[in-house]
Amino acid sequence: MVSEAAESRSESVATTVRDLVRATGGGLLVGLPLLFTLEMWAHSFLLPSLKIVVLIGVAFVVVVGYTAVSGFRRERSWIELLIDSVETMGIAAVVATVALLLLGRVGLETGLRDAVGKIALEMIPVAFGVSLAGTQLASPEDDPEDAADQGSTVADGNGAGTFARLFIAAGAALLFALNIAPTEEPMLLGVEAAWWLLLLVIPATLAVTFAVVFYADFRGGRSLESGDGPLDRPLTETLAAYAVSLLVSLLLLWSFGRTDGASWSAIVGQTIMLAVVASFGAAVGRLLIGGGGQQQEAS
């Protein structure tokens, strides 16, 4: 009896280790591009401390959302969800710290505030990756029952519900646009674009996202049939997802201080340009989750 208990305990430690490795892998997959981005290093000391705290708070809410959908572990109760999210942030902090040390971005000559700011900022994309590690990197063979459960909170029946889909759209838009947002390019694009160019970018963005989700016949794509709700029609859903992407873009631009002291036209231009990236992320996110029902039927 004793040895059996010890055996199962060491097995569960092995499972935990595997979960941690998976979490680290997911975190690096999403976090590495931004760990290699100069503007992320600079924003650690350019942003006020309290703003970084606000960003971590927002990131935590997003992580709770991502974890509810996937998570590197599969428990579902509320308290477990919160604990998992705390652990996600903690693992991300450790991964970001080690990565910054190995990349030579944090060292003995770095001021404490600078180092803490860098870790706090870089752990955000890493945390998103950790929290998504469950669904996207989990191998279905090692736990078939759990694999079937994954995503079930939003993907019951015929794919996700309207608001769940928009939530997923927001999460995916954030994840994808986050790689671009800290760089100078969206600012240059937005500030330099003429008004008529911006007016062309909007329908082009809408057309691409509409086509990708409803016409390209990707796995997870959907037919052009309308559902019951006002947002369950292809056109209205595309517009709603675009609105969500614009909001996400504006939030990101504010986060990185791109809206500070900028004129209204500059803010509008930047938002529209970043929303090209954000709404594409939103479209792919809806593909991955929206067709959950179909995917499960197929397998």
């Binding site: 499972t15 006020p48 604990i83 903690g90 505030r113 600078d114």
Partner: protein, 124 residues
Amino acid sequence: MRQNWLEWVVLGVSLAAIAGLVGFLVVDGLTDAGRPPKPVITLQTDAAYGVSEGWILPAMATNEGDEAAEALALRATATVDGVEEESEVTIDYLPAGTDVEFSFGFSGRPEGAVTVSIVGFRLP
């Protein structure tokens, strides 16, 4: 709920890491007096060395203010072979509390003291 000791360790480390990071930033944010950048330059005359193109004078910049200085331009003036010479260096970013190492260059070993002045910097 926690299945083994390792999960407890993960939870403990996570709580400590988050509390440490957020706690530090909150305290720093509340006590930040918003002092403007105050670059302090230390010349490391002992570490100076000659190269075929002249003389390299290592230096260290620190920022004793609360805000970062961007594009900090520094000018060192010295007398080499009886002629006054200037050396200019620009530091991309000088965050509060961080040390940045750099070097001034002259055509030869300066005679007497080297004086450093701040040409200017941008606020982020």
